[in-house]
């Protein structure tokens, strides 16, 4: 309202000189004019009138004496007064107007400075509302003529969409195994030159229990396809939910003894979509320093505060929690999570869940446990790490799992508290905006769970899980206990892990001039990512070490054993990476297979690394 007065008082100053002088109070209009025009002079006679009228307000007299203004200004002052008077009249006619006038007059009388402040405040408010939302960007902008703009556009050449695969990297494309026929215990590999290697023992598959080719499960899936076809043809919230989807949720929840369950279309996507539902800016998450890439990206995209604790080092975790306690107690009650894996995808070991649960309860943090690999492989009946430590599932607030690994189907899931799951149904990006899982996948997962549970008797070993854990222990003991391999490799994984992780031993790494790890905080690659330098994403030593591991795989494959290796992408990983040779076990393999595998792989390791040592690069 004040600003309206100011604007209108500047409109028509020629007419003002003729108009009558109207003074009853030193009004807002006068003061404004005087304040905004102190540099010019006022006509003597009118000056005295003005000063007489305003004399009552002691605070401004000094200013007026300074202001030796012209007749133009006097006119403005008159005009302002006139407009003000008219405005007052108008306001009086409106209901409630008298109240406003009284308020302004009273406030002005008591404290004229306040009027000034209020006017300035009003002006600021107007400026603020009119200002562009991106004023920062606007201010940063250079002023360019059309010609300059055209020239700059002419000049601009973008970098290529992606860098071409260089000759040094091309072997990676050639060595991705191409399987002819089904992926099962023994596979046929079609080599890059189109020759076939048949009957190769498969140690690269994540189908730990061999459920993908299990006839009972296959029959159930086929029955379902005959009933409903392949695709679900819609998001779960729009008629994409079939009764089989509801069943598999119930089955998973019951199998894991959880309150509720939600299923996703892809395992890797599950954590990336679940975590941002519960973590926003200002929340805090403490992540295991060896976490898989899905958890890293999930934490990153949540934009919450991230702390990392050393892989499986619960003392370090407690240290961090202790150091945070004071800040957390003072601040608002934000959401707090600890994130780790049931069985580490990168290391093949597990945290001490019992202690972890104690710690998180003590510090009132919630636990997110990624059991993608451990469900179906760990515990007597495949119920994951919680079964190993005999911890009730309700103590783990969020459990994330995969149906694409031990369950031999596809998709991911998340189990836990009902409220938590309900919130995901509404807000989880990959659930809301994506089509539902194909119904036959849900059906086959239900069938796998039925197989696992119907053969379960208390105190007895589960016929599907036990062979896997026996195999894991046996192969681990062969590699870890081998005296001849000691100088070459270190077995990183634990005996219970169904994936055997083998690294080049640190002594040999030193001898070969290999770094302890690649990438990670402060590395050249992550700096390159920050600066957008795609040429520097390539690390020649990482490439070389990976190539040597691939040679071990190639040599083993010739003797009909197919191990695999880490194919981690340095510039996507936030954490340090060490290349590993990996053997994924399966419940279908027997002792002879493992003995044979050991002999083949250990020979290949020794040969390749010896050669490398002898030749240098």
């Amino acid at each position: 309202m004040f600003s309206v007065g100011v604007v209108s008082c500047c409109v028509d100053f020629e007419a003002v000189k003729k108009s009558n002088i109207y003074f009853d109070l030193p009004d807002i209009g006068d003061i404004l004019v005087i304040y905004t025009s102190s540099s010019t002079t006022i006509h003597q006679t009118t000056m005295s009138e003005v000063s007489a009228a305003i004399a009552s307000t002691k605070t401004v007299t000094a200013t007026i004496e300074q202001a030796q203004s012209s007749s133009f200004l006097v006119g403005l002052a008159y005009n302002a007064n006139n407009v003000w008077a008219q405005l007052v009249e108008l306001l009086m006619k409106l209901p409630g107007g008298a109240l406003i006038i009284n308020y302004i007059k009273a406030s002005h009388k008591n404290d004229p400075w306040r009027t000034v402040l209020e006017v300035l405040l009003a002006l600021f408010a107007v400026k603020y509302f009119l200002a562009s939302r991106y004023s920062q960007d606007e201010r940063d902008k250079m002023v360019l003529s059309k010609r300059e703009t055209d020239e700059l556009i002419e000049e601009w050449t973008p970098e290529p969409i992606v860098l071409d695969v260089s000759n040094e990297e091309h072997w990676q494309l050639e060595t991705n195994p191409l399987i002819k026929g089904p992926v099962t215990k023994r596979v046929t590999i079609q080599n890059y030159d189109n020759s076939l290697t048949e009957d190769v023992l498969n140690f690269a598959s994540l189908d730990f229990l061999g459920m993908s080719m299990n006839n009972t499960v296959k029959d159930k899936a086929i029955e379902c396809i005959k009933e409903v076809g392949v695709g679900a043809c819609g998001p779960p919230n729009f008629y994409g939910t079939q009764s089989v989807h509801v069943r598999v949720c119930e089955d998973l929840a019951k199998f894991l003894d959880a309150a509720d369950c939600i299923i996703y279309g892809q395992d890797y996507t599950t954590p990336i979509s679940v975590l941002p539902c519960f973590l926003k800016r200002g929340d805090i998450v403490i992540v295991d320093g060896g976490a898989n890439i899905a958890l890293q990206k999930a934490a990153l995209i949540s934009r919450c505060n991230i702390e990392w604790f050393n892989h499986n080092d619960l003392d370090h975790l407690e240290e961090i929690l202790e150091s945070l306690t004071e800040d957390l107690n003072q601040g608002p009650l934000n959401r707090r999570f600890i994130v780790t894996e049931g069985l580490s995808e990168n290391f093949g070991d597990s945290p001490d869940l019992k202690r972890l649960v104690e710690i998180k309860n003590k510090y009132k943090f919630r636990l997110i446990l990624d059991e993608s690999t451990s469900i179906g492989t760990l515990g007597n009946n495949g119920r994951g790490l919680a079964e190993v430590y005999n911890i009730p599932r309700s103590d783990i607030e969020i459990t994330i799992g995969s149906m694409a690994r031990a369950f031999g189907a596809s998709g991911g899931f998340c189990v836990g508290n009902k409220d938590m799951i309900y919130h995901q149904i509404l807000t989880s990006n990959a659930y809301v905006f994506s089509a539902a899982l194909p119904p036959y996948v849900a059906k086959s997962t239900s069938a796998v769970i039925q197989l696992l549970t119907e053969n379960e008797k208390s105190g007895q070993v589960n016929p599907y899980i036990a062979p896997l854990s026996d195999n894991s222990e046996y192969l681990h003991s062969l590699f870890a206990g081998s005296p001849e391999l000691k100088n070459y490799i270190t077995v990183k994984s634990c005996g219970y892990s169904p994936s055997l992780h083998i690294r080049i031993s640190s002594a040999l790494r030193k001898e070969l001039n290999l770094p302890e790890s690649y990438g990670g905080p402060g590395s050249i690659v992550l700096k390159a990512v920050k600066n957008g330098n795609e040429e520097l994403y390539f690390d020649s030593l990482y490439n070389l070490e990976s190539y040597k591991l691939q040679e071990i795989i190639n040599e083993s494959a010739k003797s009909k054993v197919l191990p695999t290796r880490t194919k981690r992408i340095l510039h996507h990983e936030l954490l340090p990476v060490v290349p590993e040779l990996i053997l994924h076990l399966s419940a279908l393999q027997n002792k002879n297979d493992l003995d044979y595998t050991y002999s083949v792989v250990s020979k290949a390791i020794i040969n390749t690394l010896d050669n490398w040592r002898a030749k240098g690069y």
């Binding site: 071409d164 695969v165 076809g229 892809q266």
Partner: protein
Amino acid sequence: MKDYYDINELSSKVPDPPVSNLPIEEKAKMEFGPLTSNKWLSVAQLDPNEEIKPSILDEPPYFIVLTTYLDYLVFLLIGHCKDFFGMLLMPQYFSALVAKDGYPPWYSAFESFYPRRLKRRLDDCFARPIHGVPGRFMNCFNRATPDYNESFRYDGTSTPCLNLSSYNYLGFAQSVGKCTEDSIEAVKKYGLSSCGPRNLIGNTDLHQNTERILSKFIGKEDSILFSMGWGTNAHLFSSMVNSKCLVISDSLNHASIRFGIRLSGAAVKVFPHNDMNALEKLLRESISQGQSKSHRPWKKIFVCVEGLYSMEGTYCNLPGLVSLRNKYHFYLFVDEAHSIGALGEHGRGICEYFNINPNNIDILMGTLTKSFGAAGGYISANKNIIDRLRLDITANNYSESMPPAVLQQISTSMRIIAGELNGNEGKERLQRIAFNSRYLRLGLKRLGYIIYGADDSPVIPLLLYNPSKMPGFSRKMLERGVAVVIVGYPATDVISSRIRFCMSSALTKEDIDRILAISADIGDELNLKFSTGIAGGEKNPGDWKKGIRPRWSIEEVLAKTPEDCKKKVLY
């Protein structure tokens, strides 16, 4: 479902599907209606000489806009009152929203206000469990709620409803036919899973063959398949752009694209939906100004659009985009999630529709859920790009690969569309969806509804405006045996709540007659016919200028529209 029930007799569990005694021929007809006459075919293809019409949005009367805002105001007031008094007097019902034992709530009352207080009221229209094939008909379980949608109870029966909600454009959601037979064979031969990431083990001859068929179908050098459509977009951008790159995105782009860009850390600018002038202005400014603050030139600039927008039924202006691309040398990304298979004479998507060579687009992405009755997504581009992405995209190294049955469904359905299998079946499916979409769209416009989108688009949004009309329309449709999808805020603007009809080749012309008749009734009951005729549906061209509104009677619509909708110009 009967009208009255003793709530205790009902089960809170979603029932198993009742055993069906339908003979196989009947079942096939329920999934895919046979073509009733060769007259009901059309082609979804832009004439090369035809000019592209900008999409015209009809405006509702001020009264409707006002009442819509009022509706939301009342909802907000009641919701906040309920929250305030509820938390005060009955805290046991708000356990998820309040801190307990030193643990913060799972989500805040503010964050969840919309779903709890507004969406909950219409929850009975969402996530209705179904059984059987989501084809021409879909079996919806009958359910009732004893506690205002807090929970649902089932009596074990289901109703077959005409399906206007599934993404089943070409009707490949079938349990009878070549696709299903082949998929079953694939399960028998290859098992259920691909058993690991693509680069480790999950790379079979089936994957390679399907990719070859797909690349040929799309007309690009090479493609990669991914097991999830949403995931394809979510993981793609991290491998192409970094924080020194700019992504210019259409304001109505799908959530997965936005998620992927956010994950990549690239700078984002948004241009108003399909506004080519605004896009050009933004491009000129971005290229000349460079990165914010440092003013260094952007390393790459991507423009991301969708071929067919799933909420609006509009196409991107591809010819406009391609000419801008030639002028400004940015990279063009087109998400063909809804357009691939559904548009163009041979179903090759938005490029074919606009007669544009796919090589004018750098990255073509699409999903395989919608037209092919499968699941997953793909990326098609030049071979050097795909080779790099094979090594570099996270989904290829860390995530599961596509399962065999899905792959087989894709390759068989794609070969049917391309005419390599089953003779003319693919062509018929393409021509049926083109006719069906045009027929329903023109019919609804003539009845007086405000309909968004392009003539050939199989997505037909019918505008409702008032939020309370959403459940009203959905429930009334369900009573009459039609299943529809309702979409409201936050997926759309606050005021433009809508019904989204997803057309399918599986429907017959007679099914659409039925839908039109039902819509005509419901439109009168709920006061939904506000169209001015500016966007079409007039009796004589130019009527809208004279203030004559299109309000055809249902008899007139059914008599004339089937022939009229095949004409090149609908208005």
